[in-house]
Symmetry: C2
Subunit: 265 residues, 2 copies
């Protein structure tokens, strides 16, 4: 004969406290992230990336048996939850069984790093943002700059779609493109490029495109805001007279072009 | 004073017959497409592409006032529907106000065309398929080959995601990769390349990659099936040691590489 009380106690042993559960849910909102200074990181690969690069940021990890077997989690952060409880806290249709809560990394403060900087303005889709960030990470990128008018890199969907790649990068936030350009120029990143869907130098030959430069990606709907003086526009030439690539596709092509140029040196 | 009866008659004047409405709904299923030999084409841009390339295939177009103003539709195919009726027939959350029903184009029968052929095996996501087909069209591609084990190019979501680009291309379906390769070789497309996520020649230098060749894209989960003898694997080198690009990103990069090579000639 089963003892329902004993069984339910076992399920919640080492589980989330009420406070942790509220925090987990509050972090799906901008206000919740702002108040707590924390963000959610959901999914096996995203949590691995978080642990690999910024383990010190982790507050706790809600995890099911199934997901626990796929991760190497330090014992103190583990909060064992049932599949049902995880599903209630999850933002996805098919939860992978793990959601971490981590402090949002502070903005980079030292000298900028990397051959070129990837920058965003008015990019509003967290899914696109995540895809691009993941690719930037995969081509060996180091710094991500963005303006107020772009998606929050630490919102739930951006972290999920980025598979936590943002934890491997340094980020800096700027009021606008002009202050971004100034900061770049003061720190040796003098070239400012904008991935323009309509006109510009071809991305295959534009000189210095990845050489101490800032490469700006604009939004899906209306591109970027007012470009700083001296901005050079680059395009991906498409002969088919059909349509431009979407923001994530265009960024992928440009980022891989940086790999091609490096490999040709 | 309004006359409700008169008003409702006006709304349905020139609307869908019961038969047309059932057909429209049946075409969201594989069985419905097979029985009727027709497919759905939803969205303003997709319908424009259909009309531009294969107007003779159009059976009828369910369209709202709002969408009608954005299209140049021949009078006989117009079926005027209310926003509510269109929403009931639509497969999208925010319908654009137009769904065409068209005969599925027959497979190409003449000599293959184009500098290279884009081929699919075991690609199962219609959204990815559509994105890739759109890009292929945008780089000036002509022929799309696929095996039985791939997504149906004429399913609702593939047409929507492809924005109708498939209507601008010739398609050929093969039982398997071996029969595809044989057919290609017999018609002067002797090089057979596979976009491999893990190993192969780098895509930036692989000789003849877009020169009378077939470029095969595999599925999201398990790549392609058994590759024909003599297949050359190409990879997109990614230094970041993070993860490979997804199928749609990888295809985008390779297709744009064809533009780069052409521009360098």
């Amino acid at each position: 004969m089963a003892f329902p009380d004993a069984a339910s106690e076992e399920v919640s042993a080492g589980g989330l406290t009420r406070r942790e559960r509220s925090l987990l849910l509050a972090l799906t909102t901008r206000g919740g992230r702002k108040r707590s200074g924390c963000c959610r990181c959901e999914g096996v690969r995203a949590v691995r990336e978080l642990l690999a690069h910024r383990p010190e940021l982790v507050k706790f990890v809600a995890v099911t048996d199934r997901a626990l077997a796929q991760l190497e989690l330090p014992a103190p952060v583990i909060r064992h939850v049932s599949e049902e409880e995880l599903a209630r806290c999850s933002e996805t249709v098919s939860p992978q069984g793990v959601i971490a809560v981590a402090a949002i990394p502070s903005e980079a403060s030292g000298e900028p790093e990397g051959e070129f900087i990837l920058a965003f303005d008015q990019l509003n889709d967290p899914g696109n943002f995540g895809t691009i960030v993941r690719t930037f990470r995969a081509v060996g990128g180091r710094e991500l700059w963005y303006t107020k008018g772009s998606v929050d890199p630490w919102c739930d969907k951006a972290v999920r779609s980025g598979m936590g790649a943002q934890f491997a990068l340094s980020t800096r936030r700027f009021d606008n493109l002009l202050s971004m350009q100034r900061f770049g120029a003061e720190h040796g990143y003098e070239r400012f490029f904008y991935a323009d869907p309509h006109e510009g130098e071809t991305c295959f030959t534009a000189e210095g495109l990845f050489d101490r430069s800032i490469l700006l990606i604009g939004g899906e709907a209306n591109g970027a805001g007012e470009l700083p003086p001296g901005t050079r526009r680059v395009i991906i030439p498409m002969p088919g007279n059909f349509e431009s690539l979407n923001a994530a596709q265009a960024a992928t092509v440009l980022l891989v072009e940086s790999v091609r140029r490096r490999s040709m040196k």
